[in-house]
Symmetry: C2
C-alpha cells in the first residue's frame, strides 16, 4: 500500500473527535442506573469504548465544510454510531455471522445472551432516531436528517445489503454485484455519515450533494476493499476480530475476485477518486481527504 501517512495534526483531531464521541454517546444513552439495568449495561457495552469511530469522524469532517455546530455534529455522530453498533451486535449473532469476538472483546450475545443481544440492537436503533430527532437544527432539516438515516439503515440500505450478503454465501458474484452489495451493506451508512455532517451545517445544493455523494461512494468502496485485504492478510489479534473468516465462510470478496495486488491498486484508485470529488471545497475538506487516506492505510 502506498505510504501516505496522515499528519500529526490529523491524528490529534481524530483523537479529539473520538474522545468527544465517547462523551456524546454516554450523554445520549440512558444511564446504566436506569431500569432495565441489564439492558442498559449491555447497550453501553455494545457502544462505548470501541472502534475507530469512522462514521462520527466523517460526520465531523463533513460538518467542517460548512462550520456546523459542534454539539449537533456530536448528536448526529452518536445517532449514526448507535445504528452502526446495533448492526454489529445483530450481525455477530449465531443466526448471522456467529462471531464470538468484536473489537477484541466477547460479542454481546456471548457476554450476555442472545435475547439480550437482540433487544440491545433493537433498542439502539430506536435510540438513534430519538437522538437525531431531538436535534436543535431547523425542524424541516432535522426531519430530512432522520429520513436520511432511516433510509440508509433500512431494506434499501444497510439491512438490504446484509440480506444480499447472506444470500450470496457460496455464490460467485461478479464485481458489479459485489460492489452493489457493499454499497448497501456498509456504503449506505458511510454516505449517510458524510451527508448528515454536511446537513448539520446547511441545506445542501445539488452540486454539493453530488460531490459529497461521489466522495462517500469512493470511500465506502475503499473501506470494503481494504476490509477484504485485511481479512486475507492480517491476524485476529491485530484486527480485534476473527481473521480469514470470509474465506472460511466461502464469502465472495474483492481479494477472491480480483486477487490481492489488484485489490490494493483499486483501493489506491478509490482514494484518489475521493480526493478529486472534494475539489470545490478547498481546504475546508482537509479532514475528509485525510479520512480517505486513513481508510486506505489502516492496518485493522
Amino acid at each position: 500500500m502506498t505510504a501516505v501517512m496522515t499528519s500529526v495534526a490529523f491524528d490529534a483531531w481524530m483523537k479529539d473527535v473520538q474522545s468527544q464521541m465517547e462523551s456524546a454517546l454516554l450523554q445520549h444513552l440512558p444511564a446504566v442506573t436506569v431500569k432495565p439495568v441489564r439492558l442498559h449495561e449491555a447497550m453501553h457495552y455494545a457502544v462505548l469504548d470501541g472502534g475507530k469511530r469512522v462514521r462520527p469522524l466523517l460526520v465531523h469532517a463533513a460538518g467542517a465544510l460548512f462550520d456546523a455546530d459542534a454539539a449537533e455534529l456530536a448528536r448526529a455522530g452518536a445517532a449514526i454510531e448507535m445504528i452502526h453498533a446495533y448492526s454489529l451486535v445483530h450481525d455477530d449473532m449465531p443466526c448471522m455471522d456467529d462471531d464470538a469476538l468484536r473489537r477484541g472483546k466477547p460479542t454481546v450475545h456471548v457476554k450476555y445472551d442472545e435475547a439480550t443481544a437482540l433487544l440491545v440492537g433493537d433498542a439502539l436503533q430506536s435510540q438513534a432516531f430519538d437522538v437525531l430527532a431531538n436535534g436543535n437544527g431547523a425542524p424541516a432539516q432535522q426531519l430530512a436528517m432522520v429520513r436520511l438515516l432511516a433510509q440508509a439503515s433500512g431494506s434499501l440500505g444497510m439491512c438490504g445489503g446484509q440480506a444480499i450478503d447472506l444470500s450470496s454465501v457460496g455464490l460467485s458474484l461478479t464485481l458489479p454485484e459485489l460492489e452493489q452489495m457493499h454499497q448497501l451493506k456498509t456504503g449506505a451508512l458511510l454516505r449517510a455519515a458524510v451527508l448528515l455532517g454536511a446537513m448539520a451545517g446547511k441545506v445542501l445544493n445539488q452540486e454539493e450533494l453530488a460531490a459529497l455523494h461521489k466522495y462517500a461512494v469512493a470511500i465506502g468502496l475503499a473501506f470494503q476493499v481494504v476490509d477484504d485485504i485485511l481479512d486475507a492478510t492480517a491476524d485476529s489479534a491485530t484486527l480485534g476480530k476473527t481473521a480469514g473468516k470470509d474465506a472460511a465462510d466461502n464469502k465472495p470478496t474483492y481479494v477472491s475476485i480480483l486477487g490481492l495486488e489488484q485489490s490494493k491498486t483499486l483501493a489506491e484508485q478509490l482514494r484518489s477518486d475521493a480526493h478529486n470529488a472534494l475539489e470545490q471545497f478547498g481546504d475546508k475538506a482537509r479532514r475528509l481527504r485525510e479520512i480517505a487516506d486513513l481508510i486506505v492505510q489502516r492496518k485493522a
Copy 2:
C-alpha cells in the same frame, strides 16, 4: 365478561380502517419487486394481511378528536404497525419466545429463516421512522411524533418491557411489578398510538395530554389482562397462536397472580377508567370508547 357489544356502526368503521390500513401499509413498504426481493417479500409477509390493527384503530380514533387529516393518520398508523410487526417477528424468534405460529400462519423465522427474520425486524423499524418522518404535518410536530415513537419503542418503552419480561421468567412478580412490565412491553406502543393520532390533528395541551395518557394507560393494562385471560382460557385455533404458553413458560400473568375471576373484574374496571378519562372530549371520543370495549370483549 360483561356483554357490552360494540355497535354495527363501529364494526363498519373498524373494517374500513383495517382495509385502509392494508392499503397504507402496502403503499409505505418497498414493493416486493424491489431488490432484495426475498427481504421485501418477508417484510410484506410479516406486516400485511394479519391482526386486528388495534394500534392503527387507536391512531384513527384519537385522530377523530381533532379532525386530523386521513392520509396523515394512515401514515402514523402504518409507522406504528411496522414497529409492532417488527417486535412480533423478533419476539417469535428461537432466542426469545420461540413461537412457530402467529396470526394462524408460520412465524417469519419458520417460513423464511432466522437471519431473514432478524433483518425483517430491523428493516421494518427503520421503515417506520422513514414513513413517519415523511409526514406532511408541521415539521416541528412531525419531529415530536418521531421522538414519541422512538421513545415508545426503545429501552425505556417496548424493548425495555421485553427485557424485564425475559428476566422475570420463573420469578414471582408482585402486581405492581407485573403492571410496570406491561406498561412498557405493550402499553408504551398503545399510548404512542393514541398520542400520535391526536398529534396528527393538533399540538396537544397539558389537559388533553393528561386525559389521553390516562385513557391509554387503562386500555394498555386492560389489553394485557385480557391477553392473559385468553391465554389461560382459549384454544390455539381461536387465538391464532399457541395457547397456554405463558403458564407453560412459567411466566407471571394477571391470571396467575389474581386468579381468573378477579382478572375479569379488573378488565372491566379498566374499561370503565378508560371511558371516564375521555369525558372532556364528548361524542368525538366515541370510537376511543368503543375500542376500550373491543379490547375487553375480544375473544382472540
